[in-house]
């Protein structure tokens, strides 16, 4: 599967800000997305949208070409319209199932982002949303690959979107997901406490099986759900072998490390499989942690391939060498 167009909304004005002194820091312990003016969304539609819907639609519309429309829309979102759903449920309680407004209700479903995109762009093709929590975007990628295997002449809009909604933030805080102390994202990797910084954002891609003028190729994808560090390491080794990828051929490894001492061993175990010449990058100090942050990780990979420039603050291990660009 080849990636042809990319766009994102992130907590940074410039998503790949070169100077660490210029990056936006958390507000009230949250890395909140910097939203654009959404010129592509009709004002009457925009005012009814919740944040994740605005971000998803606002990221996708600049990529949708009226002359060469995509054949389908595939979105990954762990929560999608959950915040609107909660607002509607609160109305039901507050007004004793009486006078309820439809605005929150019509935006409260999981498929609201893909649905709105289908309506606004008049796209009547394949339209689906994957909501498998932390694997939502990965499942969307797998779906896009499967669709392209079946329909090699098609192209798809593929994306991942999630917001920090008050409800989700409270639940995850109670679950111990986030740092209790105030910490700057500039120092997140030096932290020795559990928890991460919550973030939000959206990243969208136009993908097809056509390699002409592509930005990048997704050669293979595999997901695993386990708390066993050794199993993760074994699976990554098998993944590399299965896809005929010698670890010393990999120029760059983009890690999802997020400053949480509980998950650090998983990322470190993966790094032990890499050749000593492989450069290691981290990006979650820019976007924070959220279920579909891997989508913006993919955006960073594409952007780095396009520009061949890496801001210094992304390096965990800098072994830059001019090779083929296998991430």
């Amino acid at each position: 599967m080849y990636i042809h167009k990319i766009y994102c909304i992130s907590p940074q004005q410039d998503p790949l800000q070169a100077d660490i002194e210029c990056i936006n820091e958390p507000v009230d312990k949250k890395l909140l997305a910097v939203e654009p003016s959404y010129e592509h969304i009709p004002p009457g539609v925009l005012r009814r949208m919740g944040k994740s819907i605005r971000m998803g639609v606002g990221t996708a519309l600049p990529l949708l070409d009226k002359i060469n429309p995509v054949d389908g829309i595939i979105i990954g979102s762990a929560n999608a319209g959950l915040d609107e759903c909660v607002k509607f449920l609160i109305q039901i309680v507050d007004y004793d199932e009486g006078q309820l407004t439809p605005g929150n209700f019509v935006q409260s479903t999981g498929n609201v982002i893909a649905g709105q995109l289908g309506l606004i762009s008049k796209n009547k093709g394949y339209n689906i949303t994957h909501m498998h929590q932390g694997l939502a975007f990965e499942n969307a990628v797998i779906d896009a690959i499967m669709q392209l295997n079946t329909n090699p002449a098609h192209s798809y809009l593929l994306g991942g979107v999630d917001e920090i909604s008050p409800f989700h933030y409270n639940i995850e805080t109670l679950n111990g997901a986030y740092k209790k102390e105030d910490i700057s994202n500039k120092e997140i990797y030096q932290s020795n406490t559990p928890g991460c910084l919550p973030g939000e954002g959206a990243a969208m891609f136009v993908v097809s099986a056509d390699k002409d003028a592509a930005i990048a190729k997704i050669k293979a994808i595999q997901t695993i759900h386990t708390d066993d560090v050794e199993l993760v390491k074994q699976q990554l080794q098998l993944f590399l072998e299965k896809n005929n990828q010698d670890s010393d051929e990999i120029d760059l490894f983009i890690s999802g490390e997020n400053g949480d001492t509980r998950t650090l061993p998983f990322y470190e175990a993966c790094e032990t499989l890499l050749n000593t010449d492989t450069t290691v990058l981290r990006f979650k100090h820019l976007c924070g942690e959220y279920a579909t942050a891997s989508a913006i990780g993919l955006w960073y990979a594409c952007q780095i391939l396009q520009t061949q420039e890496i801001p210094p603050h992304l390096f965990k291990k800098n072994q830059q060498k001019k090779r083929t660009g296998i991430f």
């Binding site: 005012r47 009814r48 009486g98 006078q99 309820l100 407004t101 439809p102």
Partner: protein, 87 residues
Amino acid sequence: METAELKQQLKKQIIEFLNLISVKPEDIKDDEPLFGEGLGLDSIDSIELIVLLGREYGIEIKDPKEGRKVLTDINTMVAYIEEHRTK
């Protein structure tokens, strides 16, 4: 409450209920149509406005024809509120 004061309050409530981000109360003219031209509201907004009348003024509108007349502009809404409000 004086009519002028009620008009101002209603405009603020409409902006808040319908999330009219870029609209200020002074942008809404008293005799300007709320739907189609003017403020450019649509059918979902009409339900939101009927809920607004219920929650804020205790007014229940059951007849759609009556609703269309009431929701013509700020003047018609305020006249109806002054006549039928229960809170």
